[in-house]
């Protein structure tokens, strides 16, 4: 039954893809078909995976072989189901969003866009669903290919360039992944996941596989120092695509290989993840905070969030490695929880950005401002998203980070010195990240939505059409559900985490509270927190309401002023100005960033010289090697030609000399 629903979802994606391709000429129809198809398919996917997760019934299926050396099998276990859930969720929301968004942005190619979009989502789902590494790779690559075309959908120079960067980096990453999978294959003898799990692999090889896959998936996920492609890509990709890309399927691969296949066998793997995660988180958010371009800001923030997810998984892997299932599950829970959270709030933020771009037609925050008044729904959604991403309780971002803090504290009690020593440091870094993130998104909201409008478009902006609002609102609901509903949601994610180790899932919630497996360490109840916060809001209002008789003096001057000057738009606290203190504070980090950029251009200039050299190499072969051979032959021919000098007496002499030589050798 579950399987049928899942297959229905797959079928719907395919149908939507090809129908929209066929209808490309009538692009509006194509857009609707595609969006509705995607939505229906995503709902089917959601239903099937929720059944899997809730009822605990993974399923598997095998299809006819296309390729002689690999079985085409699909297996939706907890982890896959969780991933599919996340993907489907975002897919459904973006589907609604695209109904109107695409009409304007993709225009006449909406059919093709629909086709690629469906293929992209489907390949993501199949990649996480297949239980054969070869098909995982195939779908992974199809996913990359489809997303490449989606990234360059606008087809301007910038988009093409960013598409190039995206695809090139993704392909390089895939190569590393292929490498690691091939090594697994060599030991397992087939591409089946089940064989991978049971393969006898020496520890050194395991390390190699892990490092390769970590690099590969890490690049794809955008961790520091491989994050540079993210802002480039996101800045020109359509917002819906950026939202879909925020599902971070790469993490799935890392978990699959690192934890599922290799059993997280040594503790330093986890520590590596943890370290890279922490650095990514801090550096990512630092970069984000000084960014003027909204898309790029969100991209850097993705790096940050990937870092946080990795930290969770790192802790989880340490837990598994040292055979502390509780720590492992908890860390993994934090990571996975943050993954779904990130997908939801980052998706929301991208959709909001999409909406803003839809009206303002720029991504430069300096040209926005004051949009909250003109686009109230969008502003509200962005606010919720910003709060969530800044880990403000009781929203979802806070919950997952809270779990992460708890797991880090737990790891701090660990016997391994490095882990023990570093865990608090990572916790501090996480805190720093949270702080800067809050500041960063305050800035973002403030600059974009508050204050005066700083451009013509911004002044003329109005609210986006209903489908787009609906899409955003769905995600707002998602944030609330994941935040306030944490006591309900967390155990299921805990199931997913524990299923990776085949342990019983630990207790992480009771009633309205969640806790890191033991109530003594800490407890959190987001619903109660929410009530409390609501209370905090309500109480002042109540006070004001009770004291309403007493009129306090209100300044009614409508135009603001500053130090004696009348207000102008240029005076507003702009994005650049806002981040000035950070720039000063973290000067070295930014310095690295600028020098890196310069190095790029320097390398490019060397590259041109190299190209010139290579150009000459071609003629080297032809002129020097073969040319001299040919010339030499002709020259030799001309020398030899001299023997035919035309004198008949010489000719006779030749005969005689030959005869004499022969006679001498014969008689001798």
């Amino acid at each position: 039954m579950v399987q049928q629903i899942f297959m229905l979802s797959v079928f719907l994606y395919i149908a939507a893809a090809f129908l929209s391709l066929v209808m490309n000429r009538i692009y509006k129809v194509a857009n609707y078909i595609s969006a509705i198809g995607t939505f229906a398919a995503a709902i089917a996917g959601l239903v099937s995976t929720i059944i899997v997760l809730v009822q605990g019934m993974p399923f598997a299926a095998e299809f006819p072989r296309f390729v002689p050396f690999a079985r085409f099998t699909i297996e939706v276990d907890y982890l896959s189901a969780f991933m599919i859930l996340v993907i489907s969720l975002i897919a459904a929301v973006t589907a609604i969003f695209t109904l109107t968004y695409n009409e304007r942005y993709i225009g006449k190619n909406a059919g093709i866009f629909g086709f690629l979009n469906n293929i992209y989502i489907l390949s993501m789902i199949l990649a996480v669903a297949s239980s054969n590494a070869f098909y995982f790779l195939v779908f992974w690559e199809i996913m990359t290919l489809a997303s490449y075309f989606l990234v360059i959908a606008k087809q301007d120079k910038e988009a093409i360039n960013s598409g190039f960067v995206y695809f090139a980096v993704a392909h390089a990453a895939v190569t590393l992944i292929i490498f690691s999978i091939i090594v697994l294959y060599i030991y397992a003898g087939s591409f089946d996941f089940s064989d991978f799990r049971n393969a006898e692999i020496p520890q050194a090889t395991k390390n190699l596989i892990f490092l390769l896959s970590f690099l590969g998936f890490g690049i794809k996920a955008g961790i520091v120092p491989f994050h540079t492609w993210l802002p480039i890509t996101y800045s020109s990709a359509p917002s819906t695509v950026s939202a879909l890309m925020s599902t971070k399927v790469a993490i799935y691969g890392l978990i699959r290989i690192g934890v599922d296949f290799l059993g997280a066998s040594v503790w330093w793997w986890g520590l590596t993840l943890l370290a890279f995660g922490a650095i990514s988180a801090v550096v990512g958010i630092l970069y984000a905070s000084v960014e003027k371009d909204l898309n790029r800001l969100l991209a850097y923030s993705s790096t940050e969030n990937v870092g946080i997810i990795l930290m969770g998984i790192g802790v989880g892997m340490i837990g598994f490695a040292v055979e502390q299932p509780v720590l492992g599950t908890l860390g993994m829970l934090a990571g996975l929880y943050h993954m779904v959270n990130h997908a939801v709030f980052k998706g929301l933020l991208f959709l909001c950005t999409g909406s803003v771009i839809y009206r303002v037609q720029t991504t430069n925050m300096e040209e926005m401002g004051g949009l909250a008044k003109r686009m109230p729904w969008t502003g509200f959604a962005f606010l919720i998203g910003a709060l969530a991403i800044s880990a403000i309780p009781p929203l979802n971002g806070f919950v997952s980070e809270w779990f992460l803090y708890q797991s880090l504290f737990m790891a701090g009690n660990h016997s391994i010195l490095a882990v023990k020593a570093l865990s608090p440091l990572f916790a501090v870094m996480l805190a720093l990240t949270g702080a800067i993130a809050a500041m960063c998104f305050v800035k973002a909201y403030g600059v974009v939505f508050a204050g005066p409008s700083r451009s013509e478009h911004a002044r003329e902006a109005r609210e986006v059409p209903v489908p787009m609002i609906a899409g955003m609102m769905l995600l707002v609901v998602g944030i609330l559900v994941l935040g306030l509903g944490a006591p309900v949601v967390a155990p299921y994610i805990g199931h997913v985490a524990s299923s990776l180790l085949n342990t019983s899932s630990p207790q992480v919630s009771e009633g309205l509270t969640v806790y890191p497996t033991s109530k003594t360490q800490a407890m959190l109840s987001t619903p109660l927190l929410f009530l409390f916060l609501m209370g905090l809001l309500v109480v002042p209002l109540f006070i004001v309401w009770t004291l309403r008789g007493e009129k306090s003096g209100r300044r009614m001057d409508s135009t603001p002023w500053a130090t004696g000057y009348a207000y102008s738009a240029r005076m507003a606290y702009s994005a650049t100005a806002f981040s000035q203190p950070l720039r000063v504070l973290f000067h070295p980090v930014y310095w690295i960033r600028t020098t890196l950029v310069e190095v790029g251009s320097k390398i490019a200039s060397y590259f041109r010289q190299v190209v010139g050299c290579i150009d000459r190499l071609e003629s080297f072969w032809e002129n020097t090697v073969y040319g001299s051979l040919a010339r030499g032959t002709v020259l030799l021919g001309k020398r030899i030609q001299d023997i035919q000098l035309g004198n008949v007496r010489m000719y006779c002499l030749y005969i005689i000399i030959t005869l004499v030589i022969l006679l001498i050798t014969t008689i001798r």
Binding site: Q641, Q644, L645, G646, N647, V648, R649, C652, L653, I656
Partner: protein, 215 residues
């Protein structure tokens, strides 16, 4: 005087005459010298025929008398009337050529010595001379630039090989001799015709000038 001695004496005479053919600057004179040499050759044939009781050699000497003593010189002289009989320069001085000739003669005798195991060779000196004659002919072709001189050279070679044939294969069928002789005559005829044409075309008989075709 035994038969061998006669033959050997005549053979030495051949060397002398061939040197005269080579070194005579006037071609008409050279033609006469060649005629003389051929006469000596005929005499050798005759003496061989007598002393060795080789009947076929009578016919040989007869045909040789007609062709070599009379026909060939006549043909050459006939051609000389058209093209003048003065030889141009040669590649070496006379003294050098003679030195070469001496060397070649010595070589020939050395070679002829190696034939001693063969019963047929009763007249070693004659054998050596026949080879020497052949080589002198070659020498003439190599050192003389004049086309007619080269024809003489060819004739000398031909005489030499004829003598060798007579010494070694005197009892071979007549057809052989006739065939070879016919070839020789025709070769000379053709060469003379071509030499005539060459003179008409190039205005000289110096073969070193005939180098239009090379490479």
């Amino acid at each position: 005087m035994s038969g061998t001695a006669v033959v050997n004496f005549l053979a030495v005479l051949l060397i002398l005459t061939s040197m005269l053919v080579i070194e005579t600057r006037r071609l008409r004179l050279a033609a006469y010298m060649y005629s003389l040499q051929s006469l000596v050759l005929v005499l050798i044939f005759l003496s061989l025929a007598i002393f060795m009781h080789a009947e076929p050699l009578y016919i040989w000497s007869f045909t040789a008398l007609i062709t070599k003593v009379f026909l060939v010189p006549w043909l050459i002289i006939r051609t000389l009337k058209k093209i003048g009989d003065q030889e141009g320069e040669s590649a070496f001085k006379t003294s050098t050529t003679v030195l070469f000739a001496v060397f070649l003669v010595a070589l020939s005798f050395a070679v002829a010595n190696s034939f001693q195991t063969y019963a047929v060779v009763k007249v070693k000196i004659a054998m050596g001379v026949s080879i020497a004659l052949f080589l002198l002919g070659l020498l003439c072709i190599l050192t003389k630039k004049n086309a007619l001189k080269q024809i003489f050279g060819y004739c000398l070679m031909e005489n030499g090989s004829h003598l060798t044939l007579a010494l070694l294969a005197y009892n071979a069928p007549e057809t052989v001799e006739i065939g070879i002789l016919t070839d020789a005559i025709f070769a000379v005829v053709i060469m003379l015709v071509i030499a005539g044409r060459l003179f008409k075309s190039f205005g000289t008989l110096d073969t070193d000038n005939y180098t239009l075709l090379k490479g």
